[in-house]
Amino acid sequence: MRDKIKKMWLLTKVLLKGGMGKSKMKPKWKVLVGFLVCLWLIPVAGSIVAMVAGLYDGLASLGQEGLLLEIGMGSASFLVLFFGILYLLNLFYFDKDIENLLSLPFTPGQIIGAKFIVALVYEYVSVSFILLPVLGVFGIKARMGIWYYLYSILVFMTMPAIPLVMAGIIVMIVMRFTNIGKNKDILKIVGGIIGIIFAIGLNIGIQRFTGNMMDPSNLQQLIHQGNNSLLGKTMILFPQVKMSNLGLLYSSSFTGLLWILGFLAVAFLAYFIFLLLGEMIYFKGVVGLSESKAKRKIFTSEALQRQSIQRSVFYSCFWKEIRILLRTPVYFLNCIVMNILGPFFLLIPFFTAQEEGIFEESVKLAQNPNRMGMLLGIGFGIILFFAGTTGIASTALSREGQQIFVNKMLPIDYMTQIIAKVASAAFIGFWGVLILAGIGIILFRFSFIFIILFMFLGSIGLLFSAFLGILIDLYHPKLDWDNEQKAVKQNFNVFLHMLMIMVFAGITIFLSIIIRPSILYLILGIGLVYGCLTLLLWFWVKQISRKAFEKIEV
């Protein structure tokens, strides 16, 4: 047993080191990036703390301040579960190191146990945005003692483990039953999509569930009882949230210790069950997953004539990009699926809202001619937002990895290659625009002209986002990776691009709502501003493209 754990720990250390990747950033660039992150972090952290403090005061006046901890930990748990599904799917099944690990004398439990800890470390970063302010604000405002802070550290370290275990179990079960047949790439994608849909379903379910729970008459009665009586009512899905809350609330007494010990026991038990399940089903899901389909069918002369037709270099480069994006499961799941499912996320509030008539109100708003300009501006902002999250353009060079030498060796003008990449990002982004347009027509009965204008402006937005993304990637592409996931998920360029695009999307939406321009002014405004910005970016990219490629030494 001891030996087993020792080996798992050994593997964990190696995986953690490998996961960080080497940073080849120049100090100057690092400073700039650090500065940008701080610039973003300070107002974000400030506003989170202010919001949490406000929430505390509101709840405290009802005698329900304990609910703050519950809301904080409940939402952190949910966040971990939601993002954990995709992350673990990649980590457990599609990582390139899996093949090497399978040939080493590790048990399935050791492999997923070690990978799980790697995932947990990343989760700490994401949940700290919620947990640190919540735990801190509560501690200070409620004047908690030293034990509270000690327990807080324990809770912070352990809390994300349970939802992550749930995510791991879901992933393993899905993959156990989809790892059949021959076409592994498609199955990987199907497995991934099932995981995502499951997560969305869960989201809707929880929102409805907590919505019912919050039925006004029930709630009023509970609120009147005061004394933190609402605790434990909202988060039945994550029982450990209640335990850790009570532990923290009663941290000054013996009861608190008992709750914390119980909480830790539940976390370890969950991890243990997860390892046990892993021992049983992980190999069945992962072995043979990397086999690729090969028909080895004779290539007939007719097929040759049909498929071998001369095309332009641009056409060929463009389709090469699209094919690789569609056929590489990691790229498909990270860059394309979100683009397609994203628009549906926007509908979730309409389906989960408790108040009647929100939907009808929205349809009415969509028919109001005075609001067309504003709505078009908001629509444009939404397209920008989605374009910023996909990461197709901001990883366009990074995705080439060490094979980028091919791009340098072939007699294709660098600008042609770049434009093909920009076009592929805009093309896939346009699928999202079409889906948004479809939703707009079918559900909200927008006029046909509005939709055409929406698609026209959307195209400009997509090009703007794509040029900005590729510009970022040209400055320092992340080429030193050994698994595709590192190129798209653990790539700072994606984050930077998203950040910048969000600023643009935010300003556009904000101005549209404040100014409420007429549709003509809006089209002129957005068309001119973003058209000029896109041209400017195109010129910038053209200026630096050759130098950027020459600088790359692989």
């Binding site: 389909k293 090969a294 004779i298 071998s308 270099v313 090469k320 094919r323």
Partner: protein, 242 residues
């Protein structure tokens, strides 16, 4: 013809990978570039093909400077890298068509060449499948086919025999010879001496970034005293430099 004049390359400011080398590879010859691991072979090839920029010196391919007229120069050669793991998600036929489009090979000519090459390398039944389903040798073969599809006047191959089965290896050597006989240039790197001994018209030996010897086999034997095997010579040559 490939001409290298006073070419040097330093990595990370301090490691001198290629040290002021001069080489002329003429039309109609197969030229072997020999050296132990880490000698500077791949760096030299990467500079010739425009992947790396030399710190100093000029490289001409059939008279075109790879730095000053990169697109024109790149059109003149076909390069087979030592790592054939490229375009793995494309099907064999898609890759060949991509390469044909890049080098402007028209429809009729490409169809004919794909037909010939796939038969010669016994790859017909694999063209429908993604390259990632290929074995190492098959990947190597599809890379070679992709390069030959535009029949470049200069071939540059980095360790081309690695992973090839004897038959494919034989076919490749045969094609290299045919190519040279058509008065075109073949430049390839290897650390396998037997290959160089059997195939090359001339060789150069590089170690620690410097050219230690350049000439034909006869001259090499003369320089390194009579009958000793090339292997022994090779060891001797690089040993002294350590």
């Amino acid at each position: 013809m490939i001409e290298l004049k006073n070419v040097s390359k330093t990595y990370a400011g301090s490691v001198l990978a290629v040290d002021n080398i001069n080489l002329n590879i003429y039309d109609g010859e197969i030229f072997g570039f020999l050296g132990p691991n880490g000698a500077g072979k791949t760096t030299t090839i990467k500079m010739i093909t425009g992947i790396l920029k030399p710190d100093q010196g000029t490289i001409l391919i059939n008279g075109k400077d790879i730095q000053k007229e990169p697109l024109e120069a790149k059109r003149l050669f076909g390069f087979v890298p030592d790592d054939p793991n490229t375009f793995l998600r494309l099907k064999g036929i898609e890759y060949l068509n991509f390469m044909a489009d890049v080098y402007d090979v028209d429809t009729i000519v490409r169809q004919e060449r794909i037909q010939n090459l796939s038969e010669r390398f016994d790859m017909r039944s694999a063209l429908h499948d993604q390259i990632q389903s290929y074995s190492h040798g098959m990947r190597q073969k599809i890379m070679v086919m992709g390069v030959l599809i535009h029949e470049p006047p200069v071939w540059i191959l980095d360790e081309p025999m690695t992973g090839l089965d004897p038959r494919s290896s034989f076919v490749l050597k045969e094609m290299m010879r045919e190519h040279a006989d058509e008065n075109k240039t073949v430049f390839f790197s290897t650390h396998v001496l037997e290959v160089a001994e059997k195939v090359c018209d001339r060789v150069a030996i590089i170690n620690k970034g410097k050219i230690l010897f350049c000439g034909n086999m006869e001259e090499m034997r003369k320089e390194f005293q009579g009958d000793e095997s090339l292997e022994k010579m090779f060891l001797e040559l690089t040993e002294n430099e350590r």
